[in-house]
């Protein structure tokens, strides 16, 4: 098991190199240059711009630039953002906690609701409960999140006036006591987390339902009934563990999404998160910042897959890695 893990971990390295190289290539080949920075930010002087071009060797061939970048990244130096000259790591570190918080919370609520909803609808496929959740899922899938966000803002923020509609803290946040601060952030998070949960819940509850329906048809479930085991125990112990297996893969794939942040949601709710940071970085061709985001995303995607595989081996005794 350990040697399998190490082997897998090692094989991620060329994959990571490939991902970063292709991303590097694409973003550098895209029209627009950071040396247009001056037009976008008049405070940057011509010398500063020259210095940037020299520092990042923007006048060299792309391959040289990539190797240069790679050399620094190996030392965990992602460079400085073109936009304000601060370290990429620092800029990402500022934005990461809030995105992580929102995504972790919504993933938590998605799992919390998706399992009961999926399991109950699988017990009576096409029953009343299942029909209702199907409708709900249909709405969840087809309703754009920004539209739902706007509706909720209108209802809770403006009509009822009970929830804040933008940002993550109130303007008087700094004057509040620490207990009130947490409450303040929690209040700001309710709407974005709800919207993110609603969209994800639709899909995940369907996965749970589909897997459970499939598992409940299996012979070993019939055996369990024939042995006199109660329905609740059969569903929650014997069926659920089998139905969990395919969900592990899906969960593994959602790990990088934890840091990804949604540009649309963050824009609607004016949340300073990763999504907007990377979106703005892309628009201004802030190469170091973009590549910083790419590396983090790629590492998480690969790690997520690896963790999913390991969990799979742990949960399914039929899988044995050589």
């Amino acid at each position: 098991m350990l040697s399998y893990f190490l082997k897998r971990l090692f094989s991620l390295v060329p994959l990571l190199l490939g991902i970063t190289f292709i991303s590097f290539l694409i973003i550098h080949l895209a029209p627009g240059k950071p040396s247009y920075l001056k037009e976008m930010n008049p405070r940057i002087s011509a010398e500063a711009q020259e210095r940037l071009i020299r520092l990042y060797q923007l006048d060299k061939p792309i391959l040289v630039q990539y190797i240069h970048w790679l050399k620094r990244v190996i030392k965990l130096d992602f460079g400085n953002s073109f936009a304000d000259g601060r370290k990429v790591i620092v800029r990402i570190r500022e934005r990461l906690p809030i995105t992580l918080l929102i995504n972790a919370l919504s993933l938590f609520f998605i799992l919390l609701f998706a399992f009961p909803v999926g399991i109950i609808s699988s017990l009576k496929p096409n029953g009343v409960f299942d029909k209702c959740t199907t409708l709900f899922v249909f709405i969840g899938f087809s309703l754009p999140s920004f539209y739902l966000a706007l509706l909720l803002m209108l209802l809770f923020g403006i009509k009822l006036g009970c929830l804040p509609i933008s940002g993550i803290v109130s303007f008087n946040h700094s004057q509040l006591s620490s207990g009130e601060r947490i409450l303040d952030i929690a209040k700001h998070l309710i709407l974005p987390v709800s919207v993110a949960t609603f969209g994800g819940l639709a899909g995940f509850s369907r996965y749970v339902r589909a897997n459970m329906i499939e598992v409940l048809k299996q012979d070993y479930i019939r055996t369990a009934y024939a042995q006199g085991i109660g329905r609740g125990r059969i569903v929650c112990k014997f069926a659920l563990k089998n139905a969990l297996l395919p969900l592990i893969t899906i969960l593994g794939l959602s790990v990088p999404g934890l840091l990804g942040g949604s540009v649309i949601l963050e824009s609607v709710f004016a949340i300073p998160g990763m999504g907007r940071l990377l979106y703005e970085a892309t628009l201004s061709r802030d190469y170091p910042l973009i590549m910083g985001g790419v590396v983090i995303g790629a590492v998480l995607t690969l790690l997520g897959n690896l963790i999913a595989d390991l969990c799979y081996a742990w949960a399914d005794p039929r899988i044995r890695y050589q």
Partner: protein, 316 residues
């Protein structure tokens, strides 16, 4: 004394708006300590019959008639009372041992579950008891195999595990639904001998379902032949003196003595059975009444019932 009595059992399913008559009005009994064999082509309703005896059929469109187990009507029991009969009084062995065991739990885990369900035992006691049961059904290295997963064992071993699980709560009726069909020949013999041995040791009554008539001849006291959801013939010494042309055809198809008398055509669709006798389209002895009037089971000889307008006395 009957341990099980089935009266006019009907099990229908609804598929795409059409009614599928899997079992259509069958009656039989099993005496205390007796082995009844149930034979017939695939799709004749054998497995559905076996499952409906403890209401295991899922989502039937109709489940009617009476199943009396020691005088108690299974179809009238509350589900909590039914669960006390399932496993503890009536136990099953199924066709595919590997798929009938849960792939993600160890053999021991699954055995302990059912032992503790029906007996007051601590986990430790249940494990000791499970070991004893595994040894009883001839599983070598029981301690190691208790910690194995079903996929790590052979088909024969898994079937032994199924038998150990079935026996672990001392049932009085064992229902074996094609328990040897997917096993290789030598394993088949071993499993059959095991079932025969435990039947004697535990004084079990047995309902043995198979399409292998040779097994029934050796291991059962009486045999019922099913065709198109009905019992067409039931009795002792069925194989020596069959009365129903279908039984005769099954026997000759097996022995291959008179190949031209073997079965022609296919079993009728359970969505639309032919009028009259359901066997008439394939019957070499049919007359006009066979196409109009459905024959009922009648006692032809003592304890030997046949559903045929013109029962033949055919000696093989």
């Amino acid at each position: 004394m009957y341990i099980l009595e089935v009266k006019n059992l009907k099990v229908y399913f609804s598929q795409k708006g059409k009614v599928l008559k899997a079992v259509d009005g069958i009656s039989f009994f099993i005496r205390e300590g007796e082995s009844l064999g149930l034979a017939g082509e695939s799709g004749s309703g054998k497995t559905v019959t076996a499952l409906s005896l403890t209401r295991l059929v899922s989502h039937p469109y109709l489940l009617s008639g009476e199943v009396l187990f020691r005088g108690k009507n299974i179809f009238r029991l509350k589900s909590a009372d039914l669960r006390k009969i399932r496993g503890a009084e009536i136990a099953y062995i199924f066709q595919n041992p590997l798929s009938s065991l849960n792939p993600v739990f160890t053999v021991g885990n699954q055995m302990i579950e059912i032992i503790r369900l029906h007996h007051r035992k601590t986990k430790r006691e249940a494990e000791v008891y499970a070991l004893k049961m595994l040894e009883k059904v001839g599983i070598p290295d029981a301690y190691k195999n208790l910690r194995s997963y079903p996929h790590q064992l052979s088909g024969g071993m898994n079937q032994r595990v199924m038998i150990a699980m079935a026996l672990s709560c001392h049932p009085s009726l064992l229902i074996a639904d094609e328990p040897t069909t997917n096993l290789d020949a030598t394993t088949q013999v071993q499993i059959l001998q095991l079932i025969e041995r435990i039947k004697k040791e535990e004084r079990l009554s047995l309902l043995f379902i198979t399409h292998d008539l040779e097994i029934l001849r050796r291991f059962t006291n009486r045999v019922a032949i099913m065709y198109a959801g009905q019992i067409v013939e039931i009795g002792e010494n069925l194989f020596e003196k069959p009365f129903h042309p279908y039984t005769y055809a099954l026997l000759s198809a097996r022995s291959g003595i008179i190949p031209e008398q073997g079965l022609k055509g296919e079993a009728p669709s359970p969505f639309a059975f032919p009028a009259g006798c359901r066997f008439h389209p394939r019957c070499p002895f049919k007359r006009s009444i066979c196409e109009e009037k459905e024959p009922i089971l009648q006692e032809k000889k003592k304890g030997h019932f046949v559903a045929c307008h013109f029962p033949q006395t055919m000696v093989k």
